[in-house]
């Protein structure tokens, strides 16, 4: 079972590697779209990464702000799904 920290580190590494930001350059509790970190394709890429890396296939009804509205929310969502 992955720790929250491990999930966060992997997700941050993916975001930084793919969207050319430094770990400290974006806020963990605000929308990545709002901060200009990702565009619409960015959401597709992140959900693809969740599937590949954590085996979490995101269902349409799960695609909402509660789960994707910030880095912290994405991490929490992944932890919930991995532990199911």
């Amino acid at each position: 079972m992955l720790s929250e920290k491990a999930v966060e580190d992997k997700l941050v590494a993916f975001i930084c590697g793919n969207f050319m930001v430094e770990p400290g350059e974006f806020k963990a509790d605000e929308s990545l779209v709002d901060q200009g970190v990702i565009d619409s394709i960015g959401l597709v890429e992140i959900s693809g990464f969740m599937d590949r890396e954590f085996g979490v296939a995101v269902a349409e009804k799960e695609m909402n702000r509660e789960n994707f509205g910030s880095l912290n929310k994405m991490v929490a969502f992944l932890i919930r799904r991995i532990s199911q």
């Binding site: 590697g17 793919n18 969207f19 050319m20 930001v21 350059e25 929308s31 779209v33 709002d34 200009g36 970190v37 565009d39 619409s40 394709i41 960015g42 959401l43 597709v44 890429e45 959900s47 995101v58 269902a59 349409e60 009804k61 799960e62 695609m63 909402n64 702000r65 994707f68």
Partner: protein, 658 residues
């Protein structure tokens, strides 16, 4: 079409002005390869590189009368009617050219001449009596004109590369403006991406009297012409056909043959039909085709060719053609690009020239005027959804936003896109929403700049600056009309007509003519109800209705495909950048030019080492093309091409001593 140059307000450097204006004009010889000339007087020098289209025998420039001297780039399509009007008022003409019509019209009517002009132009008009220089541009920014102040004098030119010929002059990016250009595909207002260089805004003229700042005047902005009440949809279709027919008719006025660009879409097909009917004889048409089937539209092009029976020529573009001609295209565009789409148009104008043609009718601006862009759908969807944000049904329209994009259509993709657009709902009511989406998508570029340049993304400042460009009457406009204004003042003027339009066509001395930018058409259509243009999500609705049965159904009914060319696919092959990218985005070159952050660029390029570019989205395409072209543009300005004028083609050399 032509290249124009000017120097004004000099004092001690007058003795050098003649050779200086010739050097500046030489840098624009590609715009006007047929002839050139200069005019000098004690405080002014004008230069002109001519592409001869109307009045081949007596239309040489700069043109001089007892009261005026003019260097003029453009076409006033209604010059015949204006000439009649002026002759009735007693004016005697010496030539058949529209240049003289502009000069005499200004002499007769002063600034009231501008609203009478129907066409595309930029000119420098020296008013000898009042010792002042009038500098003007057409309504929508088809023809360019840049100005800079350098060592006590004003310098003017159709393209900025003319300034590079001035001793000691060096173009330098203004990093914040460059970033603004990155966000909007254009800078806001007259500033360019280069320090100290301004562009004369479309629809305005400026009056220079000495070395001090000029007075600035606007003679046109969108929606300024009073219109009679809107007609029924059926009547509007008839009006649309008639207005376009007349716009094409005027644009076929030429003393050399006129050809046409055929994209395979409805806009150019409509123009091809009208051209064929008015001309009544076979004409030449030209198209771009792509080796990559994702971009190719030749099926539709051929269908239209069969329908009008034109003599058709096409140039086939593969990935190598994009790479091999990208640097030359940037040389002409002079600014960063965002897509490689200008490159095929660079090659298309060469094809036109090889076929001994120099004038083409082309379909730009239909998407702006008739609500053809997807941004109109986005604005409409968000406005509709924002009225009932909790609705489960309203956001379903997202699936129909971009039917050609896979990630909008399938179920999973839909959820993500809904999530994405939800973030913009809070921006309502927000009259800039079409731009807000673009700005937010492009704001990643802030991180690409060299940290020491201090480039900042300040959303509020930017929004305020853009809001300030609206004419005051915009409060009465609908959201879609506002979106049209923004599309026309950012993307159209700053990119489609310039980097992709004027600069690519004139790179090989080809003049584009734009019937959809006939101001009578633009103004009338602007006044019609939104639903005539965007009905539901049916884009350019009235154009489709009005021409159904006249052009093939397959062209009317095909989903809109934005004109584009391969970007990353051409530049990254098997995970490896092509030599052009390797060279100009190398750490050494990035350091040398000092514009971008070395780490950002390196990390960006590493992204592609382990994945094929087929899976890359809009933004990565944009970042690569932006950085590469920004590097190339600056590099070209540091190492200008040597250009020389052919003395045998000099037709004008006028010196006046007061």
């Amino acid at each position: 079409m032509c290249g124009i140059t000017g120097i004004f307000g000099f004092k001690d450097e007058a003795k050098d002005s003649s050779s200086r204006i010739a050097r500046m004009t030489a840098a624009l010889a590609h715009r006007g390869p047929d002839a050139w000339g200069t005019y000098t007087s004690p405080h002014l020098a004008l230069g002109h590189a001519r592409l001869s289209i109307i009045d081949l025998s007596t239309g040489d420039q700069p043109m001089v009368s007892s009261d005026f001297a003019i260097s003029y780039n453009g076409e006033i399509y209604n010059h015949i009617e204006l000439r009649d009007d002026l002759e009735k008022l007693g004016v005697v003409f010496k030539t058949r050219s529209d240049t003289e019509v502009v000069m005499r019209a200004f002499q007769m009517w002063g600034k009231d001449a501008f609203p009478k002009f129907n066409g595309q132009f930029a000119f420098l008009l020296w008013d000898k009596r009042h010792q002042r220089l009038i500098v003007a541009r057409d309504r929508y920014g088809v023809r360019p004109l840049f100005v800079t102040q350098w060592r006590g004098a004003w310098y003017f030119a159709s393209e900025m590369k003319a300034f590079d010929t001035l001793p000691g002059f060096r173009r330098e990016y203004d990093a914040q403006r460059l970033f603004e250009h990155g966000l909007l595909w254009n800078t806001i207002g007259p500033d360019t991406v280069y320090k100290g260089i301004r562009i004369i805004p479309p629809g305005t003229f400026e009056i220079y009297q000495d070395a001090s700042e000029p007075s600035r005047h606007r003679y046109y902005s969108l929606g300024c012409l009073p219109q009679k009440a809107p007609v029924s949809f059926d009547e509007a279709q008839e009006e649309l056909r008639e207005m376009l027919r007349d716009a094409v008719r005027l644009r076929l006025r030429s003393d050399v043959p006129v050809g046409m660009y055929l994209s395979g879409g409805i806009d150019s097909s409509v123009l091809a039909l009208l051209t064929s009917r008015i001309m009544g004889e076979r004409f030449k048409s030209f198209s771009v085709t792509f080796q990559d089937p994702d971009f190719d539209e030749s099926v539709f092009q051929n269908e239209m060719v069969a329908s009008i029976g034109s003599e058709h020529h096409s140039v086939r573009i593969d990935y190598d053609a994009i790479c091999d001609n990208f640097s030359d295209s940037v040389y002409h565009a002079e600014r960063p690009l965002f897509r490689t789409a200008p490159v095929p148009l660079f090659l298309l104008s060469r094809l036109v020239r090889e076929n001994e043609m120099k004038v083409v009718i082309t379909g730009e601006a239909s998407d702006e005027v008739l609500f053809g862009y997807d941004s109109y759908k986005e604005v409409k969807l968000l406005e509709f959804w924002a009225r009932s944000p909790r609705s489960a049904l309203r956001p379903l329209l997202i699936k129909r936003l971009y039917p050609h994009l896979r990630h909008y259509a399938d179920e999973r993709g839909y959820g993500l896109m809904k999530l994405y657009y939800e973030d913009f709902l809070s921006a309502f009511p927000n009259e800039l929403v079409g731009l807000v989406i673009r700005i937010r998508n492009n704001s990643v570029l802030a991180a690409a700049f060299h940290k020491e340049l201090g480039v900042k993304f300040n959303n509020d400042d930017l929004i305020e600056k853009i809001s300030g460009t609206y004419p005051s009457r915009h409060r009465d406009w609908t959201l879609l009309q506002k979106n049209q204004f923004l599309e026309m003042t950012t993307l159209l003027d700053g990119y489609l007509l310039s980097s992709q339009g004027d600069r690519m066509a004139l790179s090989h001395g080809v003049e584009g003519r734009f019937p959809y930018l006939d101001h009578r058409f633009v103004e009338r259509v602007f006044s019609w109800p939104d639903a005539y243009k965007l009905k539901g999500f049916s884009q350019k609705h009235i154009l489709r209705k009005a021409f159904r049965g006249l052009i093939p159904d397959s062209i009317i009914d095909r989903p809109k495909l934005p004109y584009q060319a391969p970007d990353l696919r051409a530049f990254i092959r098997n995970g490896k950048p092509v030599p052009l990218v390797e060279e100009f985005m190398s750490p050494e070159m990035i350091r040398d030019l000092g514009v971008f952050d070395e780490r950002f660029v390196a990390r960006f390029l590493r992204k592609f080492a382990d994945r094929s570019p087929e899976r890359i989205g809009y933004r990565d395409n944009m970042i690569l093309v932006f950085i590469l072209s920004a590097q190339l543009a600056l590099s070209w300005s540091r190492h200008p091409r040597a250009t020389k004028l052919d003395e045998r083609k000099r037709t004008t050399d006028i010196t006046e001593h007061e």
